[in-house]
């Protein structure tokens, strides 16, 4: 209003489109994105409503379906632990000059990356006990009679083992890349001190490699949680049914398959959103304040970091400070215990401070 009064008559009033653009420029990117999401949910809600789902049925049975989350999580947790162990051993094997270690890890990653997960599930669930049975029949004198029962696993056990084996094969590459990202000079310094291979890995190489390995491993865990749904195909005993199996059985029994599927999808999604939140925080923590150790070749250099220096004005506006591109030199980002003075790494996406 005040501006209206002081506006020079020589400057024409902005046209409609320009006014819209000007108004839009005042709204932060985040708010706009939130509006887009609200719109999407509105459309989905409308579809939901017009499809006339049996909402009371969903409300009534969601807790039964959701209680399958326990086994989903147990299976994913077991799977990721096994996968991490296998990936570590596999990566060391891929980097080894020992032909046995190299060969075995090569076979392992090739097979489990070269066949579909669902085929592996059936191989372990159906083909493995059958093969064991045949072996017992063929060599009754050598193999104990319990041999085949030892290789007959429940779908739950197969789920953990196969997810672990399959993801471990892919994560072998992540671990190998992480270990190789540690500069060769580090291994040489450890060697020069007289460390054994184990000491070198445990004390020097792996602690540095894990900074690189942890974030993608979190992603693999989130992906694995969703792949546990595949286990439902094997059928499960009533006591250890994971989420999707519950949804399927209940949906079919009550002739509410669509409602059951939608519920399952929403639950998986919610689970993923929660873990992605933790994953993002983990990534920030791991990357915080880590800069290269010694001046080296360009590939050793830390990526450009955005740095906030000081805080400007700060009234009402989203911007917290000036953003500038850090130079290639190591920057005193104060990430370590001694709490640096003014410079702190900017963790938020850049648009926040634009």
């Amino acid at each position: 209003m005040g501006t209206e009064a002081t506006r020079s008559p020589l400057v024409p009033l902005p046209r409609r489109r320009d006014r819209l653009a000007l108004a839009s420029a005042g709204v932060s990117f985040r708010v706009k994105v939130a509006l887009v999401w609200v719109a999407i949910f509105a459309v989905l809600g409308f579809l939901f409503w017009s499809a006339s789902f049996d909402n009371p049925w969903i409300r009534q049975h969601i807790s039964f379906i959701a209680s399958g989350l326990t086994w989903t999580l147990v299976m994913a947790a077991g799977g990721i632990v096994l996968a991490i162990v296998l990936a570590l051993v596999g990566a060391l094997g891929r980097l080894s000059r020992n032909p046995l270690a190299y060969g075995v890890s090569g076979f392992y990653t090739s097979f489990f990356r070269g066949t579909p997960l669902i085929v592996q599930l059936f191989l372990f669930y159906l083909a493995m006990p059958q093969t064991a049975q045949n072996l017992v029949d063929k060599f009754p004198n050598f193999l104990p009679t319990s041999f085949d029962s030892f290789f007959t696993w429940s779908s739950f056990q197969v789920g953990i083992v196969v997810l672990g084996l399959n993801y471990g094969a892919y994560m072998t590459e992540i671990f190998r890349a992480g270990i190789q990202s540690v500069s060769h000079g580090q291994a040489e310094a450890a060697d020069a001190l007289g460390m054994t291979y184990r000491q070198k890995m445990r004390r020097v190489v792996l602690p540095q490699a894990f900074r690189v390995i942890i974030p993608p491993t979190g992603n693999e865990f989130i992906a694995m949680m969703k792949d546990t749904a595949l286990i439902s195909i094997l059928g499960q005993g009533i006591e250890k049914m994971e989420l999707f199996r519950r949804a399927q059985l209940l949906g079919n029994a009550d002739v509410r398959p669509t409602e059951a599927l939608v519920t399952a999808a929403a639950l998986y999604w919610a689970l993923t959103v929660v873990f992605t939140f933790f994953q993002t925080r983990l990534e920030r923590r791991v990357s915080r304040g880590y800069v290269r150790a010694a001046p080296g070749t360009p590939k050793d250099r830390a990526p450009r970091k955005r740095i906030v220096t000081g805080t400007a004005g700060g009234g009402g506006h989203a911007a917290g400070g000036y953003v500038l591109d850090a130079p290639d030199e190591p920057v005193d980002v104060g990430g370590h215990a001694h709490g640096g003075a003014l410079l702190t790494p900017l963790e938020e996406p850049p648009e926040e401070t634009s």
Partner: protein, 255 residues
């Protein structure tokens, strides 16, 4: 600090090293006496760094014999018993790298303690006081709890020297210790190295182009040329009575 047979701490006999078709070392014979400072110089690619890296088996020599503190190792297949010998040798033979190679996830003091604690099995509490002492020797006692990233290049290299010292080696090898440093930081590192030589009588093999340091501190200098030691002598002989034109040309270029 063990064994003093014959006085020689390091003895290299007929050492050859090839990378594929490229023969980098063509038969090196060298002895380093206890307390001696030997400066090795020569054009890049002449094999001087490779010699140091062969002595502690960071590079596998192609042929020859290496002896450090009486520990004699013939070049050959790296069977288990030999691997143990090599590790034993490495604990007596410190190494300081051009790129420092400090462990970035450890503080200065942790870097210094790492060798004694992990390799020698010293209790961390027992390893701490001598580690602080060693850091004090390189003038960085007040930086004990800093991470390498918060130290200047010169300070990092001094921590690296302290890390080598903490193992109480019989000899320390320096592989171009000041080449990666800004000019104004070179002095502090050379000063520490000089102190090691003069005050501690540390046996040292130094690959460097710092001819001022060589003139002042070295007992002996060896000029490397195309995989061989072309000329060897006291700094006085090398600088003032240069015998070979190659040496002369090199000295002219760096001085």
């Amino acid at each position: 600090m063990s064994v003093s047979s014959g006085g020689a701490v390091v003895r290299v006999e007929n050492l050859h090293k090839s990378f594929g078709d490229l023969e980098v070392l063509k038969g090196i014979d060298m002895e380093v006496e206890r307390g001696e400072v030997v400066v090795i110089f020569g054009r890049s690619g002449s094999g001087k760094s490779t010699l140091l890296r062969c002595i502690n088996f960071l590079e596998e020599p192609t042929m020859g014999t290496i002896e450090v503190s009486g520990q004699r190792i013939e070049v050959g297949h790296r069977i288990r018993s030999k691997r143990d010998q090599i590790r034993e040798l490495r604990t007596r033979c410190g190494m300081v790298f051009q790129q420092f190679n400090l462990f970035p996830h450890m503080t200065a003091i942790e870097n210094v303690m790492e060798g004694p604690v992990t390799v020698k099995g010293v209790d961390p509490e027992r390893a701490r006081p001598p580690a602080i002492e060693v850091l004090a020797k390189v003038g960085l006692a007040d930086k004990a709890n800093e991470y390498p990233i918060r130290l200047s290049g010169g300070q990092q290299q001094r921590v690296a020297i302290a890390r080598a010292l903490a193992m109480e080696p019989d000899v320390i090898m320096f592989d171009e210790p000041t080449s990666a440093l800004d000019p104004e930081l070179i002095g502090e590192v050379l000063a520490v190295m000089k102190a090691l030589a003069v005050e501690m009588h540390m046996t040292m093999m130094v690959v460097t182009h710092e001819m001022g340091f060589a003139r002042e501190v070295a007992n002996r200098m060896a000029f490397f040329h195309e995989g061989r030691i072309l000329e060897e002598g006291t700094p006085d002989q090398v600088f003032n009575e240069t015998r070979f034109p190659e040496t002369q040309r090199f000295l002219k270029a760096v001085l």
